[in-house]
């Protein structure tokens, strides 16, 4: 698994987050979390050999 922190400044670069929502985050999220609000992860996995299709649950 690969990971890196995502802060409010990073989220602000996404057009799906309006400026007013970014301002809202800065107000309601404690300042000590502004640089590490969430984490981006990349997970790599392999389906075992010799398995059929899974039944969706």
């Amino acid at each position: 698994m690969h990971r890196r922190p995502f802060g409010i400044d990073a989220l602000a670069s996404y057009p799906v987050f309006p400026p007013e929502f970014v301002d809202f985050l800065r107000r309601v999220v404690p300042a000590d979390r502004h640089d590490e609000l969430v984490w981006s992860v990349v997970v790599v996995a392999r389906k075992p050999e010799g398995t059929g299709g899974a039944h969706a649950g």
Partner: protein, 188 residues
């Protein structure tokens, strides 16, 4: 706790992404190398909305069949299509019709004829069992209110020995409830 019904969530997400517009590659330049972005249609690059680079970690090989779940405007679909070459094939799947059309157009603009853009839900993938070699997904699973179902579907369509490379955001500490109740937080 679910703050939105499945239908509410899908409606918010479709509307948000259909309306998404950007004139600069602010996100893409932080995720992809310059030489990867070179030659890609401007619209695919400027509307890259992922959170990682799953195609890089998927170790794609020529001739492979790839499914990009939640392809958006198609940047990962196009990068995967380059990697698997003319003997391979990539299906870019998205539930937002406007994004499916963008991927279709961007693949054509890029001269990639091994790409198919298809509309569909990650919780009910319109593919046969064991029909793809690799599933990639970038910043999409978090948008599902039925994540286990979506993952089971990705597993179902992978052939035995197939690979999954999935990028997304995770929360290590609880977010304020006002954030969790907000539509932009759901869609973003």
């Amino acid at each position: 706790m679910a703050y939105f019904t499945v239908d509410q969530a899908r409606s918010i997400i479709r509307d948000t992404y259909a309306a998404a517009a950007a004139d600069r590659p602010a996100v893409a330049s932080g995720l992809y190398a310059a030489d990867e972005l070179a030659g890609l249609p401007r619209g695919a690059v400027s509307l890259a909305l992922g959170v990682g680079h799953p195609v890089r970690h998927a170790q794609l090989r020529p001739g492979e069949m790839v499914l990009d779940v939640g392809c958006g405007a198609g940047i990962d679909t196009l990068l995967a299509a380059r990697a698997v070459g003319p003997a391979g094939r990539v299906i870019g799947l998205d539930m937002t019709p406007a994004m499916v059309e963008r991927t279709r157009r961007h693949a054509a603009d890029a001269g990639l004829d091994n790409v198919e853009a298809r509309e569909g839900l990650m919780e009910a993938l319109p593919l046969a069992d064991a029909s793809v070699d690799v599933v990639v997904s970038n910043g999409v699973l978090n948008l599902s209110t039925r994540k286990s179902r979506a993952l089971a579907e990705m597993l179902r369509v992978l052939r035995a020995g197939g690979r999954l490379a999935l990028a997304d955001l995770v929360v290590t500490q609880a977010l304020p409830e006002e954030v969790l109740r907000s539509a932009p937080a759901l869609a973003g």
